[in-house]
Structure formats: structure tokens, C-alpha cells
Amino acid sequence: MLTVQNLHKAYPMGKTTCEVLKGISLEVGDGEFVAVMGPSGSGKTTLLNCISCYLPADAGSIRLNGGELTRLRGDALAAVRNRRLGFVFQDFLLLDGLTVRENILLPAIIGGTADAQAEARADRLCAIFGIAAIAQKYPAEISGGEKQRTAVARALINEPLLILADEPTGNLDSKSARAVIRSFEQAKAALGATIFMVTHDSYAASFCDRVVILRDGVVWRTLGRERRERAAFQDALLDSIREMGREGA
């Protein structure tokens, strides 16, 4: 599904450059729910932005279902963002002037596929994520958790190959965060969605099939949940993070 190979990215910092991604390689399989964790500055968000094609990579390859993303430009890039990728942002990025249902339909409207089928799909997503009752409300009238579930539904409206989520629980209380993670699980279970999520939150990451831990721009360790209970997996994640902290000290 998603293959990242030897990805490099540096930012100019005055007269020098700061290399944020130093040759990252990873893979995400079809229907997999993968999280990326790591301390601040480890390159998580930069990695996600490169995969989303929001930032151009300096070197390396990002392939989605065999298609190279790093070379895409203009309308081809827009088409990939619209139909093959779905996005969930930390601060939701819902449009205040549209209702919840209209926000969900937005990618379909942009792609010119907002027909009766899309509307039915939007209604189904509302039902799955428990936001049917607020479908006609505006973002300013709903809670943070509801906003993020709306964003998840929006990400799924065009049935993308991959959902990219950037700290989706970062702005939420624990109850709302749990609801959002549950919505990802539902998307995976009911719709077969593949999800790639960047998070700080070990609780959110513990729901994933696999967690990639970054440190200083490289993959430090990859942990698979396998058959472990969620709580045990979270403990294992916390142990790894503590271990990384000791190594860094």
C-alpha cells in the first residue's frame, strides 16, 4: 500500500540547514492502522507532510499502491489528495461556513462526485461515527470530539486508499479522544480503511496494529501489537519510550 524509502528532508535555518528526516524507510500494508510516535523534533509531522505531499521531499521515494508521489505536480497531485488520500488534522480544519454534512461532502464536491451516492455515503458515515444528530449543525455549534469525528468522516467520503491523521487527539479531552480513536477503529473494521497516524499519545497509539517510533529523523524502533491486549501494548510502548529517553540521556 504505502512504501517510504530512504526519505530525506532538511529545512534551512539561517545560513545552515537542519536535516529533519535522515533516510526514513517504512511500509504500511493494506487495511493496517499504523501510528508514528517520537519526541518533539523527531520528524513525525514532517514525515506526514511529505507523505501528504504538503512538503516536497529532498530525496527518497514515497509510493502509494505502486505510484510515486514525490514526482506529482499540479492537477495530478490534487487528484491524489482528493481521491486516494484522506486527511485528519489536529485542529480539524472544518470550514465554519458549512454544516457538518456539507463539510463531510466537501472532498466529493471538490472532486465533482457529489451525487446521491455520495450523499448516502455521507449519511452512512454520520451514522457510523454517531454524528447524524448534528449533521445540520455548523462547526461552531458542536464539541471538539464531534468536530474530529466529522473530520474523520470527511477523510473517508471519497473512499481513499490511505487516511493520514496528524495528532487527531491532540486538541481533545480524553473522552473525545477515545471517541475519535473508536471512529478510526470503526473505519478500519467497517470500511477496510488504511490509517497512518502521527501522535504523541501512547493511549491513542495503543489501538494501532503497529507503532513506528522515530528519533532524530530516523526510525528508532517498530513495535507490533500482535496479539497483545491494548493495555499491554501501551505498557510496551511506554517502556520503549522510557528506554529511548535513557539512551538519549
Partner: protein, 709 residues
């Protein structure tokens, strides 16, 4: 909702405020500019503003200021609009919208908005100008020549401004869609506009640059003409004002970022100061535009009091209530007829003096202009007959003025005005005098000038010289000057009007001459060019109205007829009517500029409030009481109003004083000008009160936006 256009329409409905603000700013700018150009290019106004004259230059200069102000204001409003819209654009791009898709929708919106705002502004500009003009006619001054007509070609200037507005909208709109960094676009609206650290020397350095620029900008054109003998293009000499503009910007930056003096309570105004600082460049730019507009508005406002006070003082200072002169070949009412007319009106003459004058040619240096690669240059060329002036004998001068005078043979004395000024208009010196009828010449020596407002521009000769030099002159080279006084001058308006009409009625067309008409210059010009620009048939070609006895109440006639009587009561009473177009024009300009200032200040403050609503909510959560929040809001609003008001007012007052000083002939400020400057202070006080009212209104609106009770 199934297509992208309907999404845009829905978002537009929810962001009505933003669209209204942008449309309002565009509409207002176009409205003001259209109203201004309609008046500036109106035949009514052009007829009284001589081409190439100072008044027309001033009107153009203030128009340039207003146009720059409105252009910056519109650009700022457009920038703000796209900044607020950037989040929406970023979300669309992030969700896979193509730039072409976004551009199509945005440009469709902008086309409607630009066309609507510009068309409405352009359509209402002329009616607004007409309405304001009529209000001024009703309440300020009115005369026959005040009937306002428009030149449709003025709309071309308005159209040019509309095109600028549309270009800015499409350019900034296109740029906002063309940006490639989606994340940056999404977060654009949250970014502050920090100013780089501003060194403290910016304050004094700015003042220095302002003074240097103001001085150079004003003096360089004179230097070019007088020293380099070169009429430098105005665009070139205007460059010397640039240091003043840079200095002004530095002063405003220093004021916003550092502030003047050390704060005693460092933390008291922390919020207001810091927020102001991080509103950044836009605040300083708005302030700069406001400062320039305030300066322009005051410059226009000062016109009426300066002209009025100066004129009234000079009328009062005249040594005689009534003065008039006529060419000896004219049948003009003399003492018996005047006394009889006075009797009819119940007016008592208390004195009557009349004396003969004669027109003689004087020598001097003419400026001969050459068109070259650098533009027009000039050189001095000595001419035995440079022009003609009116000469009086010393006894005639004494009879008219009561001042004893004894000139030696061969001596002449020029008459300056009562303050001893006027050398720029009347040289007052000569070394050779010629009787143009006989061709005889006499060398003369110029002595200390005399002072008299009513005889300004004449020469006085020794009695013997006068008799000798004027012998053989025909009647059309001789004149008679009359001074007389009356009892209760202020009550003799009807008599003055009747006498004025009698003089005009009995003057024949041969003396319907423009003030500058000179028989000696005419002879030379006809010999050289085949025509004389000051002859009545050529005046209109030179942008001047011919003297027409039927238009005796027009300002052109009253200001430029060579034989215009000087009757104190008539001049005083008719001053406003005579100068009506000038007065109303400059009042109109001032009103337009001040309106622009108020709208810019109001919009800027409203924007600051909108952008900082979150900060005030946070402060409230931290426990800040309403009084604290109000003080903080007041700190920002007052700065937006106060800094440009103080800077613009101080700047123009100093600049105006400098102009008056250097315009003095010799340099200096006359008592009339000093009184005029005092009257200008009264104008400043009145406008400041108005500014304060707008400030209070704005503060109330800002507090409402920030939910401060």
C-alpha cells in the same frame, strides 16, 4: 449542495462581514476619488485655477496624496481579506482542489465584487461631489460662477483608479491561490506581522530626515531655477521630498515599536503596546497614509483662513477707503460726479485726492528660455525696454499719501506694499527709463523703496524729472489715480457698488485688459512672435478668461481687470463671493481627505478588534476586569488616532510656516500671515474636536466587538 460554486456561495453567506468590509473599502475609495476628480477637473474649477499656477499644483498634489492613501487603503483591505480567506483556500487545497478550480471561483467572486463596488463608487461619486458643492454653496459661499459642471473626461481618472482596485484584487487573489505550501496557507491567518527590532535612533533620525526632506523638497526647485537657471521637471524635484517620507515612516515605526520617553509604569500598558507592536507593518502603513492625508487635508483647510485673514487685514490697512485709476483717454466719473452719486446714497466724502501718473518703459533683465536636452533652461538678457511701469511725481505721491518726499533729480523709488514686500512681483529697480512716445531715455538711480498698499508697483520720480520724462506722452500712456475717504465706510456698500458699476459701464473695450497686459512687452512680443499672449483674443488659449464687462462680478474680472477699483467696503463684503470657487474647492478637498482619514482609522481599529478578540477572551479568562480591558482597547485605538493626528498636524503646520517664511519677499512672516496662522490653529482645534468624536465612536464600536461592557 453538489458543486463547488455552491460551496463558495455558502461560505460567502457565512462571511458576509468580510466581503462587506472589502466591498465597502473599495466602494469608499472609488467614491472619494471619483468625487475628487469630478471637482478637480470640473470646468467650473479649472476656469479659476490658472494653468501652471500654485493653486492648481496644490490641488493636484493633494489629489496625489488622496489617491495614494486610497490605493494603500484598498490594497490593505484586500490583503486582509485574502489573509482571512487563506484558511479556506488551504483547506480546499489540502482536500485536493486544483488551483484552476479555486482561481475560477475566486475570480468570479472578485469580478462581481470589484465591478459592483467600483461601479457604485464611480456612479455615486459625481452626485456626491455635486451634493457637497451645493451644500457649500448654501452655507459657505455662492456666486454665479459657482454653478458646477462636470467634464465627462474626469471619469477617465476615476476609471483608472477602478482599474487599479480591480488589478489589486485579482493580483492578490491570484497570488493567494498560487501559493504552494498548503500548511503555510492554512496557518496564514494566525500569523502576526512582526516588525524587526527598531533602533531608538529611528525617532530622532526620522525627525532629522523629515526636516531635511521638507527643506530640500521645497528649496531645490527654487535653487534649480534661480542658481542653475533650469526649470527642472517637477517629478525630478519631487524626489527630494522622499527623505521626508522615509523620516515620517521611521518616526511612526519608532512611535509604535519603542514609544517616546521611558515608561514609568512598564507593565501598565503592556498588552496594548505589545499588541500594537505585533500588528506590525500594516498598522504603521495605515498610520503613514493617515498622517499624509491629515497633512493634505489641513493644507487644504488652511487655504480659506490664510486667504481670508490676510485679505481682511490688508483691506483694513489700506490708507484710503476708495481707490481707483483710469487711463486718461477714458471718460470715468471724477470728483463732481462721485460726490453727486454719493449724495444720492447719503454718503459723505471726507477727502478727495487725485494725481496724474504716466507709463514709462524701464530697463532690466528678461529671462529668455531655451528648450534643451535637460528641459527648459533660461538665461538673463539685458533689455533697455524690459516692460513699462506707472510713474508718479514726488508731489503727486505726497498728495496721495500725505508722506513728504524729496527725491534728487535722476533718482527713482519703487513702491512696495505696506510690509515692504513684493519684490518678486515688482522688481522696484531700474537704471534706464524711456519715454516710448519720444524714444528719449534717461539714466536713473534707484533709491530706498517706499511702502504703500494702494500704490504698490508704481515708481516715484523727482517733479522736474517727471515733467521732462513724460512730456509728449499721449493720453493712452497717462493715467489718473484717485484716493478718497467717506464717513462710515462700512455703511457705503450700495454707493460702492453703484460707483463700481458706473466705472465699468463707462470704460470702453480698449481698457478691458488683463492685469499683466503691458504695451511695452506687447510691442516686443509681437515683433518677436507675431502675437501677444495677454491680448484679449489670446487669453483663452492660455487658459485664462478674457476680461468681460458683462461678467463684472466674476472672480476673474475682480481679480484680473487692470483697472479694478479698490473699494474697501466692496472688497470686504464681496471677498467670499469673489473667492468662492477657491474657498469651496479647498474646503471640499479637506472634507474628502478627512473623511478618508476617519474611515481608514475606523476600519483599522475595527480590524485590530476582530483580530484580537481571542486575546481579549483569554485576558478575561485570566481574570482581567472590564476596566483593564477597556484601558487596553483605548490604548490601541487612541494610538491609531493620536499618532497620525499629532504627526500630520505638526508636520503640516511646520511645513506651512516654512513656506510662508521663504515665500516672504524678503524672507519672513508678515503680520497678516501670522494672524492667518492663528486662524489655522482655530481650524485645527475644530477638526481635533471632530476627530475626538470619531475616536469615541470607534472606541465604543471596538469595545462592543470585544464584548467589553
Amino acid at each position: 449542495m453538489t458543486d463547488f460554486s455552491s460551496v463558495y456561495a455558502a461560505l460567502r453567506r457565512r462571511s458576509r462581514g468580510q466581503y462587506a468590509l472589502l466591498a465597502g473599502c473599495c466602494f469608499f475609495s472609488v467614491l472619494l476619488i471619483t468625487a475628487y476628480v469630478c471637482v478637480m477637473r470640473a470646468p467650473t474649477v479649472l476656469a479659476v485655477l490658472p494653468e501652471g499656477g500654485d493653486s492648481r499644483k496644490q490641488v493636484m498634489m493633494i489629489f496625489a496624496l488622496a489617491a495614494v492613501g486610497c490605493a494603500v487603503f484598498t490594497t490593505y483591505a484586500a490583503g486582509l481579506f485574502f489573509r482571512e480567506k487563506s484558511r479556506e483556500t488551504g483547506v480546499f487545497l489540502a482536500l485536493g482542489a486544483t488551483r484552476a478550480q479555486l482561481r475560477r471561483e475566486l475570480f468570479r467572486e472578485l469580478a462581481v465584487l470589484a465591478f459592483g463596488a467600483c461601479a457604485a463608487g464611480a456612479a455615486l461619486g459625481a452626485p456626491l461631489a455635486w451634493l457637497l458643492w451645493q451644500v457649500f454653496r448654501l452655507f459657505v459661499a455662492d456666486s454665479a460662477e459657482m454653478a458646477l459642471t462636470f467634464d465627462p473626461r474626469a471619469m477617465l481618472l476615476a476609471l483608472a483608479f477602478c482599474l487599479y482596485v480591480a488589478a489589486v484584487l485579482f493580483l492578490l487573489g491570484g497570488r493567494s491561490v498560487a501559493r504552494t505550501d498548503v500548511i503555510d496557507v492554512v496557518h496564514e491567518s494566525h500569523k502576526s506581522e512582526p516588525i524587526r527590532a527598531v533602533p531608538r535612533w529611528y525617532g530622532w533620525g526620522g525627525i532629522l530626515l523629515l526636516c531635511v526632506g521638507g527643506f530640500l523638497g521645497y528649496q531645490v526647485p527654487s535653487f534649480c531655477v534661480l542658481v542653475l537657471h533650469w526649470y527642472a521637471p517637477e517629478g525630478l524635484t519631487a524626489i527630494f521630498y522622499l527623505p521626508a517620507l522615509a523620516g515620517l515612516y521611521m518616526i511612526l515605526l519608532h512611535t509604535v515599536v519603542n514609544g517616546w520617553g521611558r515608561r514609568r509604569h512598564r507593565y501598565r500598558d503592556l498588552i496594548a503596546t505589545s499588541m500594537m507592536k505585533f500588528q506590525g507593518r500594516q498598522t504603521v502603513r495605515s498610520m503613514l497614509v493617515m498622517t499624509l492625508l491629515i497633512a493634505g487635508a489641513y493644507f487644504a483647510s488652511f487655504y480659506a483662513p490664510m486667504l481670508g485673514v490676510n485679505a481682511m487685514l490688508s483691506y483694513d490697512a489700506r490708507p484710503a477707503d476708495y481707490a481707483y485709476h483710469w487711463r486718461a483717454d477714458q471718460d470715468i466719473p471724477q470728483e463732481d460726479e462721485v460726490r453727486a452719486l454719493a449724495e444720492q446714497y447719503g454718503v459723505t466724502l471726507t477727502s478727495w485726492t487725485q494725481a496724474g501718473m504716466a507709463r514709462l518703459a524701464v530697463d532690466g533683465y528678461a529671462s529668455v528660455e531655451h528648450e534643451g536636452s535637460l528641459g527648459v533652461t533660461w538665461e538673463e538678457e539685458y533689455r533697455e525696454r524690459l516692460c513699462s511701469d506707472l510713474f508718479l511725481s514726488e508731489s503727486a505721491y505726497t498728495a496721495l499719501t500725505g508722506e513728504p518726499l524729496d527725491l534728487a533729480p535722476g533718482e527713482i523709488a519703487g513702491v512696495m506694499d505696506a510690509q515692504g514686500e513684493g519684490q518678486g512681483v515688482f522688481g522696484g529697480t531700474a537704471t534706464l527709463v524711456t519715454n516710448c512716445a519720444t524714444g528719449e531715455t534717461w539714466p536713473v538711480t534707484t533709491v530706498e523703496p517706499l511702502r504703500n498698499d494702494l500704490l504698490f508697483g508704481r515708481f516715484v520720480l523727482d517733479d522736474g524729472d517727471y515733467a521732462r520724462m513724460t512730456a509728449g506722452l499721449p493720453a493712452d500712456w497717462r493715467e489718473t489715480q484717485v484716493f478718497f475717504n467717506v464717513q462710515n465706510c462700512a455703511d457705503t456698500y450700495d454707493f460702492a457698488g453703484a460707483l463700481f458699476n458706473e466705472i465699468v459701464d463707462r470704460s470702453d473695450p480698449a481698457v478691458a485688459l488683463f492685469d499683466a497686459w503691458d504695451p511695452v512687452v506687447r510691442e516686443q512680443e509681437i515683433a518677436q512672435n507675431g502675437y501677444y499672449w495677454c491680448d484679449p483674443e489670446y487669453l483663452e488659449e492660455n487658459g485664462l478668461e478674457a476680461i468681460d464687462y458683462a461678467q463684472r462680478d466674476s472672480s476673474d474680472f475682480r481679480l484680473y481687470w487692470q483697472y479694478m477699483p479698490q473699494f474697501r467696503v466692496l472688497d470686504k463684503a464681496d471677498f467670499v463671493r469673489t473667492m468662492a470657487v477657491f474657498l469651496v474647492l479647498f474646503i471640499f478637498i479637506a472634507v474628502v481627505c478627512f473623511a478618508a482619514v476617519f474611515v481608514i482609522a475606523f476600519t483599522r481599529c475595527a480590524t485590530i478588534a476582530l483580530l484580537n478578540r481571542q486575546v481579549y477572551d483569554d485576558l478575561r479568562r485570566l481574570g482581567a476586569p472590564d476596566a483593564y480591558l477597556r484601558r487596553s482597547a483605548r490604548g490601541q485605538v487612541s494610538r491609531v488616532f493620536l499618532v497620525p493626528a499629532l504627526t500630520g498636524t505638526g508636520l503640516i503646520y511646520a511645513f506651512y510656516t516654512m513656506i510662508l517664511y521663504f515665500n516672504g519677499d524678503p524672507a519672513g512672516i508678515s503680520p497678516g500671515e501670522a494672524a492667518g496662522m492663528l486662524a489655522c490653529l482655530a481650524i485645527i482645534a475644530a477638526v481635533s474636536l471632530l476627530q475626538y468624536a470619531v475616536y469615541r465612536l470607534t472606541l465604543r464600536r471596538v469595545c462592543k466587538t470585544l464584548s467589553i461592557g
